[in-house]
Amino acid sequence: MNKDPKQVVILSGKGGTGKTSVAASLAHLAAQDLSLSIADADVDASNLDLVLHPQRIEEHAFKSGLLAHIDPQRCISCGQCYEACRFDAIIPGFKGAPYKVDPVACEGCNACLYQCPVNAITSSEPEAGLWFYSQTPYGPLYHAHLFAGAENSGKLVTLVKQQARLKALDDQRPLVLIDGPPGIGCPVISSVSGADLALLVVEPTLSGAHDLKRVLQTTLHFGVKTLALINKADLSQKQCQEIEAFCQSQDIPVIARIPYNTLVTEAMVQGQPITAYSEGSAIAQALHGVWSTIKTYLNL
């Protein structure tokens, strides 16, 4: 029987702390030691493909949620749908004209549909995005594109993660690396669920520290073992120390301090992980240390 692959999810709370740059480097380093599959769980602002140069193998539609539609021929403008809707998604008809649905506001709950006395309302499942299976130099990548402003990003995250996990199981790949979204809400909860390890990428700013606390509460709420690393560490010695003291008080190991360097942006512009772009740099060295620590934690 195949062993369950270990899942590592990279999170931050605050956006723009360097999750994707760290994820790309870990994919690069991990691939030198073992085989892995990769998931980009930041489905509404996915960027991992910009540095992993995926070759797209499959593309699938992601259908999710419901969208109500009012048949203007049948609508008698009674207003019952308007009364029932709690999401301000029904636009009343002017002077007896048929009512309409605001597709952006519609939650897809069907409450209006059941209240309509003349069965003028139907609902359908709209296409909310696309998901892809691609090949990268470091392993298979599952990623997605949620359409602008679409709902149910959590469901799409779950789908992308599940595909990466199944691929790992099928090919006996011992690791699934997940680049997570910012925040603590629905897509983060979907990324964390089932993970064996969460790696928090923190920046040494008051905002970074504030959001670290929220995302840490979230990973602990779901019972996931958590490590932290401080990125752009030389930006503030004081904030670094405070973050380390906080992590110590919570029993969260801080496994690296990565210096700030515009090399990271250069590597991004060149479309490469920093560990491949500048192998000898202090940043690359620090990331080597991060990967070997993760390996130890997961017994890989």
Partner: protein, 302 residues
């Protein structure tokens, strides 16, 4: 006037721009300043503007959803509630009805449709709102922020309530809404109904990729005029400039890559405190947006 400050990619400087814009507009002379100024932090998963604005926070509101509670003595276990629920948030298993609060959107469908009238609704908290005041030159401005409870999935209802309770009502008013990152439903909830979306980006491949989607959300889906602030100008490449040019999006401001700005940010200090000359630049940013919004309104009437 309502301005949403958004970005697509996280960490590009939304909060920095929103905070400095507030402080600059707040210190304009009373004759040119909007009568009522409000700041709403809509990044309810990771709200940070309070770190820079240091408002005196006084009142707190609970935010939540109305969720079903089943009266077992009236329930006949007919299964209608489970059938009408689009979110699988209520299930009937034999002689038991189970509600899954994390899945419930509070739409009321089960309550409306229960043939026995056995369901009533109870309040289920998912977050809170905090209200306070920010003073610039002793001029008070209203501050509000939403905070999503840990482990809760749905940010949008918290944002929606924050906006409903917080948006300035006066004719001559300004509401600044600091949006969450990404391009999904919480961002849409923040942008909806605003007059202008200011997109803060950085000139990198990641910044550009997410800016494109943010423009689709704001301009193409919601039909709101947009403008761009390029932060950390000088890092990366020129592709954001090229995109804005091609897509006919005005670049309203550039903030250079400057270590002192980043260091001040780390300690919760605004740009205006470090570089007072930015005061004029943020006032100009406001005036440009004001002009675009008013021309736009005039244009649509004609």
């Amino acid at each position: 006037m309502q301005i949403a400050i958004a970005s697509g990619k996280g960490g590009t400087g939304k909060t920095t721009v929103a905070v400095n814009l507030l402080l600059a507009v707040g210190s304009m002379v009373p004759s040119t300043r909007p009568e009522e100024i409000v700041f709403l932090d809509c990044d309810v998963e990771a709200p940070n503007a309070h770190i820079f604005l240091k408002p005196t926070l006084k009142e707190t509101d609970q935010v939540g959803l109305r969720q079903p509670k089943v009266d077992e003595t009236k329930c006949t276990h007919c299964g209608t509630c489970a059938k009408v629920c689009a979110f699988n948030a209520i299930a009937v298993l034999g002689q038991k009805v189970i509600v899954f609060p994390e899945l419930c959107h509070g739409c009321g469908s089960c309550t409306y449709n229960c043939p026995e009238g056995a369901i009533h609704e109870v309040f289920y908290p998912t977050g809170k709102l905090e209200w306070g005041t920010v003073y610039v030159n002793r001029h008070p401005m209203k501050f509000g922020q939403g905070i999503l409870n840990i482990g809760e999935a749905m940010a949008s209802p918290v944002i929606k309530t924050l906006k409903r309770k917080g948006i300035a009502k006066a004719n001559d008013s300004l509401t600044l809404l600091d949006a969450p990152p990404g391009n999904a439903c919480p961002v849409v909830e923040t942008m909806r109904g605003t007059d202008f979306v200011l997109l803060v980006t950085e000139p990198t491949p990641f910044g550009l990729h997410d800016l494109r989607t943010a423009v689709q959300v704001a301009r193409d889906e919601l039909h709101i005029p947009v403008g761009v602030v390029i932060n950390r100008d000088g890092v990366g490449d020129k592709s954001v400039d090229a995109f804005c040019n091609e897509a006919n999006i005005p670049i309203l401001m550039r903030i250079p890559l400057e270590r002192r700005i980043a260091e001040a940010y780390a300690e919760g200090i605004s740009i205006l405190e470090v570089f007072p000359e930015y005061h004029r630049r943020f006032v100009e940013l406001y005036q440009q947006i004001h002009a675009i919004v008013h021309n736009n309104k005039g244009g649509s009437r004609a």
